[in-house]
Amino acid sequence: MAILIDKNTKVLVQGITGRSGALQTKVMKDYGTKIVAGVTPGKGGNTVEGISVYDFVTEAVAEHSIDAAISFVPPRFSKDACFEIIQAGIKFLVITAEGIPDHDVIHILAYAQANGCTVLGPGTAGVISPGKCKLGAHPPRMYTQGSVGLVSKSGALSYEIGKMLTEAGIGQSTVLAIGGGPIWGLTQKEVIELFEQDPETDIIVLVGEIGGTMEEEAAEFIAEHVTKPVVAMIVGRAAPKGKSLGHAGAIIQGNRGTAQAKIEALSQAGAHIARTPQEIVELIKHIRGDNK
């Protein structure tokens, strides 16, 4: 299987009757994701795209075997909703909501960890293993099956790079956006670890951003544990220092956190550094010897 999900992953959609939840459910289902149940409180007994809707996760779990859940619940209800997923024993949870209070996020993540549940997000666009399964918003046409593993913080950026790779004929094993932060379930480092162990991945692409120290932590891990080639790009080279550009993770902090610091750390860790998406494509081709 690909990392985290595969063709046979049975999925529950939480908040399936909402506008976004319903649309994304259709796209995921059309893509081949095995969505077996949906949950929206008060909407039990309905169906969405032919999928049974339940009032409670426990009710869905009683009727279906479920491997993973994706939550489209609004931020103010996220904590309760995620606890419901975790307490129902589901072991992989994708949280799409942005704007969940930080204190709720740390409780969700601590409780997930205590119960052996892997969390992608919050604020994540999700994960796609092209040709197999997608859990989230990744637009299907931007991806094609292959062996490049791609991880970024930002969802849009993972679409952007996926699109360029696909247009250049470079397929992907799995593409993940871990979310905008400032607090994460799966981190870049952990996803790279999954890619390193994944037999379907031969090259790892890390798309980082200025702010925070996650790329530096990933670099440390790469230096010590990663044998596969890593191509890394840091966006925000042109960003003015000291300005917060979007998510709170993107605040430049001291020396660490700058584009320069991250690029240096990754370069020293042995990653191939790309300045632009085009350079990612070129470096992958170079690594593969396509240009020789």
């Binding site: 976004s20 649309l23 994304q24 796209v27 103010r76 799409t96 704007g99 969940i100 209070p101 930080d102 204190h103 996020v105 740390i106 409780h107 993540l109 601590a110 409780y111 604020g123 666009a125 999700g126 989230g136 918003a137 990744h138 637009p139 931007m142 913080k153 930002s154 969802g155 849009a156 950026l157 993972s158 679409y159 952007e160 699109k163 905008g180 932060g181 400032p182 607090i183 994460w184 981190t187 798309v207 951003e209 925070g212 120290t213 996650m214 932590e217 966006v235 925000g236 080279r237 042109a238 960003a239 550009l245 979007g246 998510h247 993770g249 993107a250 300045r275 632009t276 998406p277 085009q278």
Partner: protein
């Protein structure tokens, strides 16, 4: 939301954390009720106040006027001084550092403490890291007694019960207020026990839905101080991030990462962005419309680049917002829209109907926008 020191200290006091007696002075003519000598402290939201000369000792009434005038005329890291806190002078035996913050990559509250508090705490951290004590807290169970005993041992503070209650109260405030930072530096050991001589508090705007009354009151209080910036008068209710920059290419994106990538590409193409405007990953026609209003109200903007790549975000809705803006305001400068992803066909059709061309390739769109800002528009400017 960041709080002023005087707000932070009032909250500390409400949570049973001792603070010095103080009077808030709103102009250089104000007189404190407390007896001299007093510490006069410039009220700003930025750090590094002490090193910038924002704290004065005032030994009697004679010096008060000139010191206050000096403080009120000061700018600290560009920030005007909005008020002065006149505070009784504590007799300090030792200065500690104590804070609680959230550690993003570990997803844990982190208590940071040091026996060497004060203005040089950053140097302490850099030069003698063994003097910085970090205690990660499991949010499921909060700080444990043994952790506080360990803190007391490492800080060299004898009264464990007092420290335990102090940290317990601070942690309670941290949780109940949805704080992301509570910092006390220095935390003074005095003959009467621990006293918070300074206070920095950052609250989580994302928790506004459950902290509405408190956040509103704190914000109103900040606004009531002299020299308020009206732009910060209300909590943002949408997900738009808007940062004014110095160039000519207006930029709107539906993701921070793509926005920053586009900034880089604009620079690589020889242009310069007039702003950074990011709408978030799940937006709406209204937010798209508002983003355009915000960016296009800047007279420096010579061309507008809208970079959209829809995941959760629907291109039909984005098109709706853009088209509505055109209908209401017209478009007087080149507007370059890169649109792809969820509901792309529907979106592009709406755009075509409204006579606004769309791009698929990001580099091409960036090139067009940079040229457009230089006057070589190939976007529309009707």
């Amino acid at each position: 939301m960041k709080l002023f020191e005087f707000q932070a200290k009032r909250i500390f006091a409400q949570y049973g954390l001792p603070v010095p007696e103080s009077d808030l002075l709103l102009s250089s003519q104000d007189l404190p009720e407390l007896p001299f000598p007093l510490i006069l402290k410039a009220q700003v939201l930025t750090g590094g106040r002490g090193k910038a000369g924002g704290i004065k000792i005032c030994s009697d009434k004679k010096e008060l006027g000139s010191l206050l005038t000096e403080l009120f005329n000061m700018r600290i890291k560009g920030e005007p001084v909005r008020a002065v806190l006149a505070e009784e002078k504590a007799k300090i035996n030792q200065e500690f550092y104590l804070s609680i913050t959230l550690q993003g990559s570990k997803a844990r509250p982190l208590i940071i403490a040091s026996p060497a508090g004060g203005m040089d705490i950053e140097q302490v951290a850099a030069k003698t890291p063994e003097k910085i004590i970090k205690i990660p807290i499991d949010p499921l169970i909060g700080p444990q007694d043994y952790q506080i005993r360990y803190l007391a041992k490492r800080m060299g503070y004898q009264n464990k019960t007092e420290l335990k209650n102090f940290v317990a109260n601070l942690y309670q405030a941290f949780c109940e207020l949805d704080a992301t930072l509570l910092e006390i530096n220095p935390l003074a050991s005095t003959d009467k026990g621990l006293v918070a001589l300074d206070g920095k508090v950052t609250l989580d705007d994302k928790a506004n839905f459950r902290q509405e009354a408190l956040f509103k009151e704190l914000l109103a209080e900040q606004q009531d101080l002299p020299g308020a910036d009206p732009a910060s008068a209300h909590m943002s209710e949408d997900t738009i991030t808007y940062v004014p920059l110095t160039g000519t290419v207006g930029l709107i994106s539906d993701g921070a990462g793509t926005g920053m990538l586009t900034l880089d590409l604009i620079k690589d193409a020889g242009g310069e962005a007039a702003n950074f405007c990011e709408m978030g990953g799940l937006t709406s026609p209204e937010i798209m419309y508002k983003a355009m209003e915000t960016v296009l109200s800047d007279p420096n903007v010579k061309s507008l680049l809208v970079v959209l790549i829809g995941g959760f975000n629907r291109m039909d809705e984005m098109a709706e917002g853009i088209v509505k803006y055109k209908k209401v305001h017209g478009l007087n400068i080149p507007v370059i829209v890169r649109m792809c992803g969820t509901m792309e066909e529907e979106g592009k059709e709406l755009m075509a109907q409204a006579g606004i061309p769309t791009y698929d390739d990001l580099l091409e769109a960036v090139g067009a926008a940079v040229k457009g800002a230089e006057g070589e528009a190939d976007g529309n400017s009707n």
